[in-house]
Amino acid sequence: MKISGSYTVPIPRDEAYKLLQDPVILAKCMPGTDHLEKIGEDEYEMKMKMAIASFSGLFTGKVKIADAHPPDNFMLLVEGSGKVGFLKGSGLLNLTPQEGATEVKYEGDVQVGGTIAAVGQRLLESTSKMIIKKFFEKFAEAATQPTT
């Protein structure tokens, strides 16, 4: 499944680029993530409890950053698996400056498997979009908050 879209975050590009690779920020913004641990260069492991209305599930996953071209773009590789299925995504994030803000364009491919793929077919695309939307909403929030 191909997905693409864009969000504008209210911080300058250099800062946005940096924060998008900050494990603390990522952990905060990935919906339901309660734990993110560095397991290699630009690679993190996490546990996520995803909950979308009545749907919920526990996932363990990995995030990896590759092909980094600061401050323009990087590849984000996400993998998550749980008892109800798995998700694998790879996306190119392109950052464009916009008067003190940054437009983040993403374009990627999502693979979903297991029960979710078999029964949630009609919901998959919306779910992916929703997770990404939530991520950027939280990211915008986290980015504009003073770091602790």
């Binding site: 008892k83 693979q111 498997g113 297991g114 793929a117 029964v119």
Partner: protein, 777 residues
């Protein structure tokens, strides 16, 4: 022994009788496999691969084993010696992957079994499955058969990187000359999509092992209890005589239970290991993923013809999506398509090439029609395409090419001998019923108003009554035992194992007529290898044509014995037996069947050279297949706005030879047609590029509901089969085979004014809308 008044019993064969099996089914007192409860019974739940292709790096069962209530957990290495899951079909050069009952170190399709948990309760077993941790290394999968055999495809089985399981070639006549002489050649790629058979009852197995007797009993929802017994015994290394297979009530099969699956042997293995009964019931999701699929063809057809519509030659390149393994008959199914590819037409010049393609998907195998619907769909589409090319009427081109009535038995270019036929009769009848000529006028008017109305015909033939043993992988005969109990009541034991076809009724009708007893005086037993002599099973529209014929012949043997006892009891040289009574016409004296049966069991006196008792067994080997045929006619209208297809009329005229029970035959036709409609309009098993089954539940796999289908008008012509004394041909698959080409022909006809010449199934509204948009552009 008195002189009794002889009353002629009403003949039951040919009568629309309600079914003998129904009282238990309508009151909820039938026993399906999930209804079996046994003391100490354990429950199994299977962990399955969520990936289409992956290496198994590790399986950790510790937490599952420690879960309270879990009796055992088995993984691939525990069951390595069980099996393999058998493939009964053989083709030259066939590559047969070793099909373990649980995956060892690699999974080949989504749903591939990886581990089995056995627990005291199915809720616990399900919980424990979630406690197993499997580490997979995912691999690239391929699910499209054409891509699979194309360049650069990932290998399904690393040892065969081209993904080709077999190549098969068959040829008859002189194809090259036919094509060289052709005035017109039409070509078309025609697909027949993967379908999920979807019997309402999923599969299920109960296994029980008696440790004292060292005897295994397996209850399975199957169409082939005896073959299963033989094969499961082999898979488990158990002596066949100590394996009993019981088929309880079976909630539909449609070919999907004409198989031996990993789970049957796996449950046998568990029961033998643990010495306790164990039950496994497939979920619907498992059924979608792991029970065989049907169809899965990509066909490239070419038809050569003269300008007057005479068909000269047919070429077919057939790519069969096999899935990852061969189940019982997987590679044989497309060869049936080849046999049937000339349809009802006088064309001797035929050439077919099959490529069997491995894909990362569940195996395909027999599903209602098994190879014949694909062939019929192809040839019936091609004939319409040819008619369109030549601007001929689709009925006219068919009538021109039909095999003539005086040519039967007719030897086809594919090596079959069509038994009997009158192919124009059902077509004429269907056209009359639907008022074909006025319809064409109506269509002209509709078109002038901008409406998209279509009329579609199909004239199908099929191979039924499987079949002569040399032509089938496991013996094509069938058996019957008929016993007359001392009271005169009659017990029939058939090797056919019906699951909805109503053979408890039709076989009782045949028996009642032959013996002159009432239908309620007959019971038909089936589906238990400890009760019934060896048999083959119910599939391929063979139940009545082969199994019923075996009953008929057993009855003829029995009647000889009855007459011997009758003659002895009447102290007569010559007696006749009819309507349940032996009569000496010289003296007028008679003796009833009950009196004869009683005397044969009491055995105070025996006719010379005759054994006591009243039982005969007959194993009948059919000399040929039987070949039913018919014509379906469909009127459709396409909604210009949405692409929705409305079926305005559906007429099915079938010729299945003599009819034992018209009510049951009508039911078979209705059900068959609706499965054909399902394929034509809605059903498709969809895998994504990673091998995920997108249509993994009834939420996305659309089997027809009552409101989606039209009234089906059925009629018959009757051309008895000379192959069996009952003159029956078989009807179980006819509706399905006749349906899909008629519907597609009708919709293509509707859209022909837009330049549409072919549509692949399922004809979803979006597909139709896209065609209309394309034409507008």
């Amino acid at each position: 022994m008195a002189t009794t008044t002889i009353t002629k019993t009403e003949k039951l064969v040919g009568k629309a009788m309600r079914r003998q099996e129904d009282p238990r089914l309508i009151t909820g007192s039938a026993t399906y496999v999930d209804d079996i409860q046994m003391p100490g019974m354990l429950h199994a739940c299977i962990l399955r691969s969520p990936h289409g292709a992956a290496n198994i790096k590790s399986v950790d069962i510790a937490a599952a084993l420690a879960h309270p209530g879990v009796a055992a957990v088995y993984v691939g290495k525990d069951t390595e010696k069980v099996g393999p899951v058998p493939c009964g079909a053989s083709l030259p050069g066939l590559r047969v992957p070793h099909h373990y009952v649980l995956a060892i170190d690699r999974v080949y399709f989504i749903g591939h079994p990886v581990a089995v948990v056995v627990a005291t309760d199915k809720y616990i077993a399900r919980d424990a499955v979630d406690l197993i941790e499997v580490e997979y290394e995912t691999l690239q999968a391929v699910t499209d058969p054409e891509k699979a055999i194309g360049p650069g495809a990932p290998p399904v089985h690393p040892e065969w990187p081209d993904n080709v399981a077999f190549n098969y070639h068959q040829e008859g006549g002189d194809v090259d000359t036919a094509f060289a002489q052709a005035e017109v050649v039409v070509k078309q790629r025609i697909t027949s999509q993967r379908l999920i058979p979807s019997s309402m009852e999923t599969r299920g197995v109960v296994a029980d092992y008696n440790t004292g007797d060292k005897a295994l009993t397996i209850w399975s929802s199957t169409q082939i209890p005896h073959l299963m017994r033989t094969l499961v015994a082999q898979m488990l290394g158990a002596p066949e005589h100590k394996v009993r297979v019981v088929t309880p009530e079976v909630g539909g099969g449609f070919g999907s239970k004409l198989n031996v699956y990993a789970e049957e042997a796996l449950m046998g293995f568990v029961a033998m290991k643990l010495g306790q009964p164990v039950k496994w019931i497939e979920s619907r999701r498992e059924n979608c993923m792991c029970t065989i699929h049907g169809r899965g063809h990509v066909d490239y057809f070419e038809v050569a013809a003269k300008k007057d519509g005479t068909i000269l030659g047919i070429k077919l390149k057939l790519i069969q999506d096999l899935g990852a393994y061969h189940q019982l008959l997987t590679p044989a199914i497309p060869t049936l398509s080849v046999l049937m590819m000339p349809g009802l037409y006088r064309c001797q010049n035929v050439r077919a090439d099959i490529v069997g393609a491995f894909t990362n998907a569940v195996p395909t195998d027999a599903y209602r029609g098994a190879g014949r619907p694909e062939a019929t769909h192809g040839i019936e589409r091609m004939v319409d395409i040819l008619a369109a090319e030549l601007k001929m009427d689709p009925a006219e081109i068919r009538l021109k090419n039909f095999i003539h009535n005086d040519e039967f038995p007719y030897a086809t270019g594919t090596g079959l001998s069509y038994d009997s036929g009158n192919y124009a009769a059902p077509l004429h009848k269907a056209m009359d019923l639907i008022d074909y000529h006025n319809l064409r006028e109506e269509q002209r008017q509709a078109r002038s108003q901008g409406r998209l109305m279509g009329i579609g015909l199909s004239t199908y033939g099929e191979i039924c009554a499987f079949g002569p043993s040399p032509a089938t992988p496991a013996g094509g005969w069938e058996s019957a035992t008929v016993k007359i109990e001392p009271s005169g009541m009659v017990t029939v034991m058939t090797g056919s194992s019906p699951h909805g076809q109503g053979e408890e009724t039709t076989f009782a009708q045949i028996t009642a007529d032959e013996l002159g007893v009432g239908i309620d005086d007959v019971i038909v037993l089936h589906g238990d290898t400890a009760i019934v002599q060896y048999g083959i099973g119910t599939f391929g529209s063979r139940g009545t044509a082969v199994g019923g014929t075996a009953v008929y012949f057993a009855l003829q043997e029995l009647k000889k014995k009855i007459k011997k006892y009758g003659a002895m009891l009447l102290e007569s040289e010559e007696v006749s037996f009819s309507d349940g009574v032996c009569v000496d016409h010289k003296t007028g004296k008679s003796v009833t069947l009950a009196e004869i049966a009683g005397a044969s069991h009491r055995a105070m006196k025996l006719p010379p050279g005759t054994q006591p008792g009243m039982v005969e067994t007959y194993f009948w080997e059919p000399p040929n297949f039987a070949f039913p045929f018919g014509a379906h006619a469909v009127v459709t209208e396409v909604n210009r706005e949405t692409g929705d297809i409305e079926i305005k009329r559906y007429v099915a005229v079938d010729d299945c030879g003599n009819i034992i029970n018209p009510l049951i035959v009508a039911g078979q036709v209705h059900g068959g047609v609706v499965q054909g409609l399902g394929q034509a309009l809605w059903e498709q098993a969809v895998y994504d590029d990673n091998g995920q089954l997108i249509t993994g539940e009834f939420m996305d796999y659309a089997i027809p509901r009552a409101s989606m289908i039209p009234w089906i008008e059925t009629e018959h012509t009757v051309t008895p089969s000379p192959v069996n004394p009952l003159g029956v041909k078989g009807v179980g698959e006819a509706g399905t085979i006749g349906c899909s080409p008629a519907v597609v022909n009708s919709v293509v006809d509707a859209l022909s004014t837009l330049g549409v010449r072919h549509i692949d199934m399922p004809m979803t509204p979006e597909k139709i809308w896209n065609l209309m948009e394309g034409a507008r552009a």
